[in-house]
């Protein structure tokens, strides 16, 4: 997308507001829906990847040190990763931003 959604005028839209660029939903920020965010105590992490498997948003990736971490651009703060984590690495805290 050349322009962000906030810059598009009605003239810029395709007929019927059809989306012609496949996969551009990746540009849609869902992180601001969040009311809670993840915090991590990586000392307890066994790198089992269960949080990545269970994340319904598919936003959990390995960081440089090999630990699994949610991408805050997409994370909706559902807390499923925290609930599934077998070693209690993840704690959900109130989103204050």
């Amino acid at each position: 997308m050349a322009k962000s959604e906030g810059e598009l005028t009605w003239r810029d839209l395709e007929i019927g507001a059809i989306v012609t660029e496949p996969g551009n939903a990746a540009q849609y920020k869902t992180g601001d829906w969040r009311s809670q965010r993840t915090t991590y105590d990586f000392a307890k992490c066994i790198k089992c990847a269960l949080c990545q498997i269970f994340c319904p948003e598919g936003c959990v990736q390995q960081n440089e040190d090999g630990y699994f971490e949610a991408d805050m651009f997409y994370c909706k703060g559902c807390g499923i990763c925290a609930r599934e984590c077998p070693t209690r690495v993840i704690t959900m805290v109130e989103e204050k931003e």
Partner: protein, 391 residues
Amino acid sequence: MAKKVGMEVSVAIGEAVKLANADVVAAYPITPQTHIVEHLAELVADGELDAAYIPVESEHSAMSACLGSAAAGARTFTATAGQGLELMHEVLYVASSMRLPLVMTVANRALSSPLSVWGDHSDVMAVRDTGWIQIFTENGQEVVDNVFCAFRIAEDRKVLLPVMVHLDGFHLSHVIEPIVFPEQSAVDKFLPYNRYPLALHPDKPVTMGDFAPPIIYPEAKWAQEVNLRASKEVILETWQEFGQAFGRHYSAVESYKTEDAEVLLLTMGSFSETAMTVIDKLRGQGRQVGLVRFRLWRPFPFEEFRRAVKDAETLIVVDRALSFGGPGGPVCSEVRSALYGEAKKPKVVSFVAGLGGRDITPAGFEAIINKGIEISQKGSENEFEIFGVRD
């Protein structure tokens, strides 16, 4: 050469859709539209029309199947009436908002309850804001002609919108009329196949009817509105070219004996032909009366309408639908709105008549005109007059 045949109007519509080479018909039968899709089913079953006929379980599904078909780039037709049109309601918005070039004939019918299969314009008026182009017809020839025009308008790259062609249930759908059918070659020439530019295809994936948060929804709706208004130019061009090719002419607002008319009657649909006989009779008595009709209902032809009525003193609008608890007839409500800001305008009198298939006879139209003139001069306590209801 074009041939003239006597045929039931519903069957003639099926023949017109065949001549228009529709690829897909998805429909559910409902009175008084049934004969249209019944005949199309026969044509497909007999191999006379090379199309996919999709029998569905409801009108909601019929319109949904039409969406998919048009989105894939197929020339798509359906027909419905009354309750069926209402059951389609939410999908009608999707068709116009996704800018899909469908054509649908609507055999206008009253709405339940009490159950009525007979004609009036309650079904049309309930879908007037769905974003479809809407054309009214008065006889079988006009429906057939406008099926061809509707496909061409819908598929025009500048338009790409669905089109409803309205005909009165029973009063028009079930009568046998002489109809001139053009040659296949003439239809093909007038109606070349105009492929939908963003048709679904695995090589070029698109998302239709996608998600629009508040940051983009108003832009999408305004683009749709600008497009529907601009479609009028193509509609008028299409009728002009149809007239040149076939010798039958159509305009957005049709006028009959309106020159020097002090009193104008406004009607829509097949009852207009009855009204014409009354105008003839009154003109014969030296009375300055005329008739105007909306051929094009959406987009609303503001300029043409204002021009057609500006010199009259009285405009009597006959609605065949009731806006419950509102200003009376929906057509009259829009007429008043269109004229409100004009410096020179006729006094507008609103009648609601002919509900649920009740005839408006020549004597009825004459009484409406006379009562309308009286109200125009003396005023009335009522927002509108209900005509012909036993008290």
